[in-house]
């Protein structure tokens, strides 16, 4: 892309957004800023869930369509643990672990048997998502569960200029998102496992030839990816609520995030999550009936000009 083209892209995309922002800021600054915070916090939830998805995809070329079900599983397990122990932190860990173990079982027992058959693996995960969703419906019924935020995160934070008050829990989501992002960056760039994962993303065969136990790396990555979904489930259980159907919603969000951001890239997942969060929340706030259309337009736009996503590399 030449310099002129890049400038044109920025103008074309950024121009309308800038005009809208100025208008909205003058019109109702509080609404604009609250929406901004809302969208960023939603984006961090999306990022947490989608980063696991993109990690698994990047390494194994395996679209795990059961990711949404793992999210829901983590949320339910977290809810039960929080109800029994009363500790939200333990619930977080339990949600992560439950989903991670489920992911490990899926990878070791099923997906490993069909290594390299991408499409078949994807179909298996579809079947699994049906089965898991139905099991969860069986156990927890269609009732809506809402988890309570831990006490130290309940209630609003007051005294912020312009916004006045904002939910502490929602703000903490932003912190969680950033923390997970930093953790993943550290894991991928500063540890031995991360080096292996990155090497596997670039060239699986070469990694195996270098004497690394690829199956182990796959299992660890799948565990981590599934665990992140479960972790997101516990966080989302407070913010959104748990009910059958949420799995599809988060799966769709993850799909769009990684398609827009570029599959296999954690940075791309962050960018995609931010874009999706902004589009959805601003859409809901300013044009309620068409919020989905915005998301869709973004998806089409990105696919039309960057078929592999913003940060995507050619396969």
């Amino acid at each position: 892309m030449s310099k002129g083209q890049r400038l044109a892209t920025w103008l074309l995309v950024g121009g309308p957004i800038a005009v809208f922002s100025v208008w909205a800021l003058v019109d109702n600054p509080r609404l604009y800023l609250v929406t901004l915070l809302n969208s960023l916090t939603l984006a961090s939830l999306y990022f947490i869930v989608a980063s696991g998805f993109t990690l698994v995809f990047g390494l194994m070329r395996n679209v795990n369509l059961a990711h949404g079900s793992l999210y829901l599983l983590g949320g339910y397990v977290g809810y039960v643990v929080a109800r029994e122990t009363g500790w939200w932190i333990i619930a977080l860990a339990a949600g992560f672990l439950a989903a991670a173990v489920a992911g490990l079982l899926i990878q070791v027992l099923i997906l490993r048997r069909m290594q390299g058959e991408d499409l078949r693996q994807t179909m298996v995960t579809i079947g699994l998502s049906i089965v898991i969703a139905d099991f969860l419906l069986w156990i927890f019924t269609g009732q809506v569960y809402q988890m309570e935020a831990p006490e130290w995160l309940q209630g609003p934070i007051r005294g912020i200029p312009l916004i006045k008050a904002y939910s502490a829990y929602r703000l903490s989501l932003l912190g969680f998102g950033i923390a997970i992002g930093l953790f993943l960056w550290w894991l991928l760039n500063r540890t031995r496992v991360g080096t292996m994962i990155r090497a596997g993303v670039d060239d699986r065969a070469m990694l195996a030839a270098a004497g690394v136990n690829v199956n182990l790396v796959f299992a660890v990555t799948f565990m981590l990816g599934a665990g992140l979904a479960g972790f997101g489930g516990v966080i989302g259980a407070v913010e959104l609520s748990m009910v059958p159907g949420e799995d599809t919603r988060l799966l769709l969000a993850s799909l769009i995030v990684v398609i827009v951001g570029g599959m296999g890239s954690v940075v791309g997942a962050a960018i995609g999550a931010a874009i999706l969060g902004l589009a959805e929340t601003y859409g809901l706030a300013y044009a309620p009936t068409y919020s989905v259309v915005f998301t869709f337009v973004i998806l089409i736009g990105v696919l039309a000009f960057r078929p592999r996503g913003i940060m995507g590399k050619a396969a």
Binding site: R61, V63, L65, I110, R113, E117, D118, L119, R120, T122, M123, V124, I126, G127, L128, I130, V131, A133, D134, F135, L137, W138, T248, L251, L252, L255, I256, V258, I259, M263, P288, T289, Y290, S291, V292, V293, T295, F296, L299, I300, L303, A304, P307, R308
Partner: protein, 381 residues
């Protein structure tokens, strides 16, 4: 398909395209021409063709399909047979794309839903926002809209290939679901449209089980034979070539993208017809009819039957609908998804080619050595 077979098929396709620039070259060009044992008799050509290809099982199946509504109860005719034919048609559009084009599109039900919504919005229904146009305007419009949308979906998703297709089409399908769920001005939101009935034509109430069954049967057979014909035309052969090796086909001078998008358009027509029948069958359309559950069910049907032959879609649909209708007598109604998910998992895990694959395996073990599927390839569906 072996390399030699390939070359022959490719050469046939190329020669046909070069020698006859007319768009509709007859299917005989690409088909391997067998020695005609009845060349000396003076029967018409089509009769000889029928005589050559027909066998006992064809006659048996045709008789069964035609006689079924006269012997079976209206419930079986309408709820089981007609529904299976409709879902078979929609699944056929998917198995054509996946089996012959190598593109697993989950958005086929969405295309069907678009056609259904077009019928409901443009035609008459129990909702005030319907425009109430006459049926002979509505139906072509609905089909055109569905085909255009299918082409657009295809154009979007063929930009990326393989595994990405499934994600993008899933995203498109779910996005459409949320669109019709949240939009009240056009799609009437959660309630959707009730009382969308087929029109009274020729004095027949097409909603009655028997006329409806024959209407569904007609379109299902039309779709089935159309696909059977299409995959042996130069276009179909080129599409299969693109499925197996896009790079090579590209360097042979075939436009990969154009062929793929055209395949989406063709599948869109089939899915659109299926969608119109489906909305008449249900008598209503709501966001639930285009939700993920049914999107995945269409995939389940196609995979269950097997994607290597057009008949697989209908086979899968019959099994699926029978399971759906009668499994609830054995188990709890709520647990139906578990059964269908389990069956789907078992099929994917143990017989990737579906019931057709099982049948072929049994035949090769017990029967004379024959190839059942029309396109034996190494690729997974």
């Amino acid at each position: 398909m072996s390399a030699a077979q390939w070359r022959r098929a490719m050469n046939g396709g190329l020669a046909g395209a070069a020698a006859r620039p007319r768009p509709a070259s007859p299917p005989a060009v690409a088909a391997p021409v067998a020695e005609d044992p009845y060349a000396d008799s003076d029967a018409p050509r089509w009769l000889k063709y029928l005589w050559r290809t027909l066998s006992a099982r064809h006659v048996f199946t045709a008789a069964l399909l035609l006689l079924l509504p006269f012997v079976a109860s209206p419930f079986l005719t309408y709820q089981v047979a007609a529904q299976a034919l409709i879902f078979g048609l929609i699944a056929l559009s998917l198995s054509f794309l996946a089996g012959y084009g190598g593109m697993v599109s989950l958005a086929q039900l969405t295309v069907a839903g678009i056609a259904g919504y077009a019928v409901a919005v443009l035609g008459s229904s129990g909702t005030a926002t319907s425009l109430g146009w006459p049926w002979w305007v509505v139906l072509p419009f609905a089909l055109i809209i569905a085909t255009l949308c299918a082409t657009l979906i295809g154009w979007l998703s063929v930009r990326t290939d393989g595994i990405y297709t499934i994600m993008i089409t899933l995203a498109i399908g779910v996005a459409f679901y949320y669109l019709v769920l949240q939009n009240y001005t056009v799609f009437n939101g959660f309630q959707g449209f009730q009382k969308v009935y087929p029109p009274l034509v020729l004095g027949i109430n097409w909603r009655d089980p028997m006329p409806f069954y024959f209407m569904a049967l007609f379109w299902a057979l039309a779709g089935y034979f159309f696909i059977k014909w299409l995959v042996r035309t130069p276009f179909g052969i080129a599409l299969q070539g693109i499925r197996d090796n896009p790079r090579r086909m590209n360097s042979l001078g075939f436009s990969v993208i154009a062929h793929r998008v055209a395949a989406y358009a063709v599948a869109g027509v089939l899915a659109g017809i299926g969608g119109i029948l489906l909305v008449w069958y249900n008598g209503l359309i709501t966001p639930g009819s285009v939700g993920t559950g049914w999107m995945i069910n269409v995939l389940v049907i196609a995979v269950l039957g097997g994607m290597k032959h057009p008949i697989g879609a209908f086979l899968g649909a019959v099994v699926f609908i029978l399971l759906q209708t009668f499994a609830i007598d054995v188990i709890d109604r709520e647990r139906f998804n578990l059964v269908i998910g389990g069956v789907f998992l078992a099929i994917v895990l143990f017989s990737p080619d579906g019931l057709l694959g099982l049948w072929a395996k049994l035949r090769s073990r017990f029967g004379p050595n024959q190839v059942l599927t029309s396109t034996p390839t190494r690729r997974q569906p």
